[in-house]
Subunit: 214 residues, 4 copies
């Protein structure tokens, strides 16, 4: 049975991915550390590596903020960078020796915002573009070792990602993705003979709506 670590497993895309992986007979290892707390995270990961090897790491946890840049608090800036960029980079760092042993796979869930320059997305884009180019660069390093690296860049997906944002996907058909769709691209990645290094998926149509009360 293969071992997978999936961050952000409790809801949204991460949860949908876990559901697919379980169906595919993966053993999911649920980390309990907060991703910003790198000390605890390091301790937890090193501990579990004593008795386990990891075949699959999926960095899926992510936070968004879309506001005029001067209005974002410094703690929010740090939170986004910590969760969206630093934690995935550290997890890869901690797990890489094990992933080399298993000739495993790393999948980083970035965002369509890593592929364009949208107003009020500067900070978010920085973290997601950093994560995407981290992955693409890492693959060059890991080709020989047999570890695959994939970035998936989803556009608007219906999850609790929007809970604290001022907008959300429209409810009209074809204007949003479902978490299951992203989970299925993960399965495709895992079953492809070769490495899908980069995959962007978007709804056919574009329509967002401002939320009431904001």
């Amino acid at each position: 049975m293969k071992n997978a670590i999936v961050t952000g497993y409790s809801s949204g895309i991460g949860k949908a991915i876990c559901d697919e992986l379980i169906e595919d007979n993966y053993n999911i290892i649920y980390l309990s550390s907060r991703l910003e707390d790198t000390k605890t995270l390091e301790f937890e990961v090193k501990d579990l590596l004593k008795n386990n090897d990891i075949d699959l790491l999926i960095n899926c946890a992510g936070v968004g903020v879309f506001q005029p840049h001067e209005e974002i608090s410094i703690s929010k800036i740090k939170e986004l960078i910590d969760i969206n960029l630093t934690a995935p980079i550290i997890l890869v760092n901690l797990l890489l020796r094990s992933l080399k042993k298993t000739k495993g796979h790393i999948i980083n869930i970035s965002s369509v915002e890593a592929t364009k320059h949208s107003k009020f997305s500067a900070l978010y884009t920085a973290t997601k573009s950093g994560l995407r180019d981290f992955s693409l660069t890492l693959f060059e390093e890991l080709r020989k070792s047999g570890v695959g690296v994939t970035t998936i860049n989803p556009d608007l997906t219906v999850t609790n990602f929007f809970d604290d944002l001022q907008f959300e996907p429209s409810t009209k058909e074809e204007t949003y993705l479902l978490p299951e769709t992203i989970a299925k691209t993960v399965v495709t990645v895992l079953y492809t003979k070769g490495v899908i290094t980069d995959l962007t998926v978007r709804p056919q149509k574009f329509e967002i709506q401002k939320k009431k009360g904001f």
Copy 2:
């Protein structure tokens, strides 16, 4: 039954895609015009549109050349641009009204060379990068109309693409892709609820070999 046009259908990736589409119950319409001969191509396409609508266009035909740029003949320069870039753009142009009617899908097979800058690939990269950004830009235009647009960027795939080149993929495992793998990403694209706009697929390992006699 859905109608598909696939260029480059006679061998390699194009042929593998046709095999998959036929299995999926597509009716393949095989164009007989040479892609460089845009007059005949236009005539043929306009003629078939009189009695058919098109659900799927896959621009797969492609030619490569990897040499010091000053050593490439002008006729070769024109051939690459004509086949790799101009023909796909013209086919989209001719078929777009029909594709809008069917809410169809356009898939352009670009190349990993559209995503990096490799020595001796300047001309080829120009055509493939042009094709990739054509697709990504076109999708912005076609979102409302319900037409999907996808670019697939394959790395070294074992086909007759290498027949006239001085190198070819190594025969070692994991150093090349099979046409069937690219064909399967096409199937994934068609069955995804949402639009995979961009997908890059590469062999895990990198190794090419110089051909004897060159």
Copy 3:
């Protein structure tokens, strides 16, 4: 005295570049062939190379079209590809041996549209993105030979480029660039100790206006 070839020299950015180069003591060689007529172009260039070496090639001629893709005529598609992409690639091909002798410089004027995906720009973006990645890839090939390669990507510049388009830059301050500004970046490129490989320049503000009568 150094010899420069500048396409599109008769107006707009090309003319402004020539003015700067003349001031900097360059001898401008004015090609008389139409850029689409590659046979004549080849003949003219080969003829002048009998008695001259070239120190600087600036591909500046360009044509735009921004319409729904299905409304563009096939002859317009070919014109854009021929002038924006094929001609620069052929000119580099013809002049490269001479440029290697002089350790010269190639400057390709691409467009900001090569850096993003704007609605109704698919064809234009294809040509300009192709040109930009041609340049960036070519530089990798030419580093050893001592030939510099630069892409300049200007945003809206007040020239006759807009004569046949349905929109034009606003007349408000800071919403457009002047051809002289682009010409000055060329001078900067030539006087930099090292190679500016890629430079994007944009107006501070964004505002375009629809033209009456369209």
Copy 4:
């Protein structure tokens, strides 16, 4: 007299930039806080804003590491992200209201590594690519406000950046850039009528050397 903040002012590219700015009559404000210490940094910046407005922010401080990713320490990972990415983003955040008042300019010194995927550069590329796309995205947000945003992506420049690395630029001519060259591109940026949003500068030739003792 205009006020400029330049991080990394004590040596290398930052020092060369300060020298140019002083010649151009800028008043340089030297921050004394360590960039990782965001609490102190915030306090210092807020304090100086009480009596000063800022016309120019240049984020130039940067740290590099080029090793197999699993061999990098977690503290080094954090240091790179803190200095190369988080600090610039926080400084922009703190200074943006002032920069809007002065219609000032932000220049972020990224790296050529933000434009490609080099082996053993995954972490560094993540920070520099994040910074570059932060800048390009921020410009979209700030166009109306009159604040310019520029990314400069230098390749190998002779500075103490290499002190702790296992390689350094070759000493052969044309294989490295001088800090003065980057400083001059900054001056070009400041004197351009329009906004140079992105500029990559590289040595003509490529040659690095391994350092003894590593």
